[in-house]
């Protein structure tokens, strides 16, 4: 198996945090939308 490049941990952490923030905000919007749909019924 290829060895990871030097400082790969920082890059992986940065990409993971960015993905978590964007997905987290998206999930928050989905929950708000669900409340909106429930409220209309």
């Amino acid at each position: 198996m290829d060895e990871l490049p030097r400082n790969a941990g920082y890059v992986i952490a940065a990409y993971a945090i960015a993905a978590a923030v964007y997905l987290g905000y998206f999930v928050r919007l989905v929950r708000k939308r669900r409340r909106m749909v429930d409220g209309r019924r």
Binding site: V21, F26, V30
Partner: protein
């Protein structure tokens, strides 16, 4: 159709929400492609090494944070002039997205700084002003949740947003105005972009995807906010 007791028309909101969600999902999928392109198909920079790859997500997040905060300030100024509640809801939606992009900017920056500068954080002009801008918009959202009267909330928060707008050019120009260790802009500058071909292509692609993602977030959030505002208050309380 206008909901009684509300100046906001109703039926546009579900369409806006759907469009916002569709755009957000497509942009998130495109972001996964950007991750692969940045990691596998861009050259490793000579002096910074592999850590430079953080640049492909840090710069677009910073671009989006400054863009959305500028939009919040401009739309808030328009609200104070026109008193249209839709402008206030749009400003709130853009501020939320801006705070999300700021979180990415402020966390990925130190993750790049540690291997390249040898320090997580430096109190230099660019970093400090960016942190203050983030605090200002967190305060903006806190203020909005603390004031219950919609007209008062819109007026107070518009003033805060306009103050934030004044800070945005200082953040961008801080690398020229002050002695700072933060790198100079590589794309948004008077001369041609100073990046080799494949790096520039992936960065521009990432900027475009982040811009669409931000637009999708704002559109979805704005549609939901429009729908909430158009409903009678009793329905929201119950």
């Amino acid at each position: 159709m206008t909901v009684p007791g509300s100046p906001l028309p109703g039926p546009i909101a579900p369409r806006t929400v759907r469009a916002g969600f569709a755009l957000s999902i497509l942009s998130l999928l495109a972001l996964a492609v950007i991750y692969v392109l940045a990691i596998r198909f861009t050259p490793t920079e000579a002096s910074q090494g592999f850590a430079q790859k953080i640049f492909y997500i840090h710069v677009p997040a910073a671009w989006m944070a400054l863009l959305t905060f500028s939009v919040v300030g401009i739309v808030s100024a328009l609200y104070l002039w026109l008193k249209d509640p839709r402008l206030d809801l749009f400003a709130e939606s853009a501020a939320e997205a801006g705070v999300a992009f700021s979180v990415v900017m402020l966390t990925t920056g130190p993750l790049w700084g540690k291997p390249v500068w040898g320090a997580w954080w430096q109190w230099d002009a660019r970093l400090t002003l960016t942190l203050f801008l983030f605090f200002l918009y967190v305060g903006y959202l806190s203020l909005r949740s603390a004031v219950h009267d919609p007209a008062e909330r819109a007026r107070f928060s518009a003033v805060v947003a306009i103050l934030g707008l004044f800070l945005v050019p200082f953040v961008h120009l801080s690398v020229y105005l002050f002695r700072t260790i933060h790198p100079l802009p590589v794309v948004l500058k008077p001369s041609a972009p100073s990046l080799p071909g494949s790096m520039l292509q992936v960065l521009l692609l990432s900027l475009a995807v982040h811009t669409l993602l931000g637009f999708g977030f704002i559109l979805a959030r704005y549609g939901i906010a429009r729908n909430d505002a158009a409903r009678p208050q009793e329905a929201l309380d119950g």
